[in-house]
């Protein structure tokens, strides 16, 4: 296994180019500060959706509580950067937020992941609600009024950096033997267990990694939007993330990325009509489930489509 394969170099160049182009457009002023918010949302949504996809799409554990982990990351990071207002403090906040989210994820995951399907969904939903109510009542988080004036350290560089890290880490995890174990749980839990896979261990592992990156996403959210209140991270937020994952395809990392971009653009265009946006959202969910339940990409990645064409050419 060499790290410097042609494919890896291409991916690296692609990432650098994307960063440089957007950075250039921001500095020249073609992307206004209004559109920068959309870009920030895209990055955060990519982090959230890809991490949820690991839990729901790849491991097959239906979670409706992803916003709960996000809120933990957001609050922990916000509290830390409000004390230590520096880039080091910001990075420390992200790490701390992500770690606390992971710990909570593991603590909640061990008992609840014994549940299956809709029961798990409801249990995770309940968990996110409990987290929200706790933040609503804690003194340190300033209750329902929320925290404001959080120093803004997250910028395009950091948002992009963490989005790329998330996508690469989860992508590599899925291709590792642990990741394959997770996928086997999705395909058939009983069969996986009888093949000697410790299903509980891998389910909790997927849940913990998902929670970690959800914490990162939340921390970036806190630092970019410098305002937090518990109701941002309600049931609706979890659904928002789920919609991205489902639209992109349960079990497709690139699908989540593409869907996050598409939905953020849709949201920006429909900014003025919140209700219509939500109605469209809802219709989109139902229509996708009826006509294309596997989402845009299914379990395929974006490069699989190109591979297929090549093979086809060779056959001819």
């Amino acid at each position: 296994m060499r790290a410097l394969t042609k494919k890896n170099i291409l991916i690296f160049v692609g990432i650098l180019l994307t960063f440089a182009i957007v950075q250039g457009l921001i500095s020249v002023g073609i992307i206004s500060s209004f559109h920068e918010i959309t870009i920030a949302l895209i990055c955060i949504n990519i982090i959230m959706a890809v991490s949820l996809n690991l839990i729901t799409g790849f491991t097959g554990q239906f979670s409706l509580g992803h916003a709960g982990f996000m809120s933990i990351g957001a609050y922990v990071c916000a509290l830390i950067i409000m004390r230590y207002d520096s880039t080091a403090g910001f990075l420390m906040g992200i790490l701390a937020g992500a770690l606390v989210a992971t710990i909570v994820g593991i603590l909640i995951g061990i008992p609840t992941l014994r549940l299956k399907g809709d029961y798990l969904a409801i249990a995770t939903l309940g968990m996110a609600e409990i987290i929200r109510v706790v933040f609503l009542n804690l003194e340190i988080t300033n209750g329902a009024a929320g925290l404001s004036g959080i120093p803004r350290h997250a910028n395009w560089f950091w948002l992009f950096f963490f989005a790329v890290i998330t996508v690469l880490t989860i992508n590599n995890f899925i291709r590792s033997s642990h990741g394959r174990a997770c996928i086997s749980i999705r395909e058939d839990e009983i069969a996986a267990e009888s093949m000697g896979i410790n299903t509980t261990k891998y389910k909790v592992m997927a849940f913990a990694i998902g929670a970690f990156f959800a914490g990162v996403g939340g921390a970036l959210y806190a630092s970019y939007f410098y305002f937090l209140k518990p109701n941002i991270f309600g049931f609706m937020k979890s659904i928002d993330i789920l919609v991205i994952v489902v639209l992109g395809g349960l079990g497709s990392v690139t699908g989540s990325v593409v869907a996050a971009i598409l939905l953020a653009l849709l949201t920006t265009f429909l900014q003025a009509f919140t209700e219509i946006r939500m109605i469209l959202y809802a219709l989109l969910l139902v229509v996708i489930m009826i006509f294309r339940p596997q989402g845009l990409f299914g379990t395929k990645e974006i490069n699989d489509f190109f591979k297929f064409r090549k093979k086809h050419e060779r056959i001819e």
């Binding site: 729901t56 239906f62 008992p111 609840t112 014994r114 549940l115 399907g117 809709d118 029961y119 969904a121 409801i122 249990a123 939903l125 309940g126 968990m127 609600e129 409990i130 109510v133 706790v134 609503l136 009542n137 009983i190 049931f235 659904i239 789920l242 489902v246 349960l250 209700e275 219509i276 939500m278 109605i279 959202y281 809802a282 219709l283 989109l284 969910l285 139902v286 489930m289 009826i290 339940p293």
Partner: protein, 292 residues
């Protein structure tokens, strides 16, 4: 002691409402194994229909309740036919996501037409209150409890004494076998949705009268709590849903009465997680063994 009894009375009235909603959840879950997330929103629409009937059509309590129940039953069947029926054979996650989609759709369509603001419900009942050894029971509570009991008796009658009820029980035990015996599973499922939604509509009108305020997002929380009640009682079991609803209602009022009302919702969900872990079949659920 008086305060405790007062809380229990309040809890029973709230719990009867939860029980009415929980019945719909449990019946639908029993028959097609779907957590109908849109159920809480049918309840919200029921409340608005009742509001319209009382305010604009100047109807009394019972006609409003009846209209709301009928229209909600129709709505429930329409939802089932359009959104859930095409997904009869797809994965559980797909159907659950569809249910969430339908729920969002109902909420925001209502918000689009009636606005997001909270409306106050007209008072159609007299302000008479009953004093029993220091416990105050008001007219609304009496109406709620009596209506809920009447509807539950009616449901027991439908399920156990009529042909439709027999078909419903048969389909929920084994859909394929029921179809082989000549039962039309599709129409039985529609009947189940109709009855469940009618109950949700009734609960909507009752809650509007009890709390005096309605808004398009009012269905989310009671919907989730009624689901907790259904799980507590044992999902799929009709008496379980009634007991579970009352239990959750009483628990909630006791927590807000003696503890911190801010933690009320958290407590209900904590309770849910505990039941799911300790006794996932609930109080009256049947234990089904998993087969490979």
């Amino acid at each position: 002691m008086e305060q405790f009894l007062q809380q229990v009375v309040n809890g029973i009235s709230l719990g009867s409402i939860y029980a009415l909603i929980a019945l719909g959840y449990t019946m639908v879950y029993g028959i097609i194994k779907l957590i109908n997330f849109a159920h809480g929103d049918v309840y919200m629409i029921g409340a608005y229909i009742g509001f319209a009937a009382i305010t604009y059509a100047k109807l009394g309590f019972f006609p409003a309740l009846l209209i709301s129940m009928i229209l909600c039953a129709i709505l429930g069947v329409v939802i089932e036919r359009i959104a859930y029926k095409p997904l009869r054979n797809s994965t559980r996650i797909a159907v659950l996501i569809t249910a969430i989609g339908v729920s969002l759709f109902l909420e925001y369509v209502m918000m689009f037409f009636v606005g997001a603001e909270v409306r106050s419900y007209p008072n159609v009942l007299s302000n008479y209150t009953l004093h029993l050894h220091g416990v105050v029971i008001n007219m609304q509570q009496i109406y709620i409890i009596v209506t809920a009991i009447a509807l539950m008796v009616l449901l027991q009658f439908i399920v156990h004494k009529t042909k439709t009820g027999k078909a419903m029980r048969a389909v929920s035990i084994d859909q394929d076998a029921a179809q082989l015996m000549g039962i039309n599973a599709d129409s039985t499922i529609s009947y189940t949705f109709a009855i469940g939604s009618a109950f949700a509509g009734a609960a909507g009108v009752l809650v509007g009268i009890y709390y005096n305020s309605i808004d398009p997002l009012m269905g989310i929380m009671p919907g989730l709590k009624a689901f907790v009640a259904a799980v507590f009682g044992g999902i799929g079991s009709i008496p379980g849903a009634m007991i579970g609803g009352l239990g959750i209602g009483i628990m909630e009022t006791l927590v807000s009465g003696y503890g911190n009302s801010m933690y009320r919702d958290a407590f209900v969900f904590l309770f849910l997680i505990l039941i799911l872990i300790l006794k996932p079949t609930g109080l009256m659920g049947k234990n089904i063994r998993e087969k490979v």
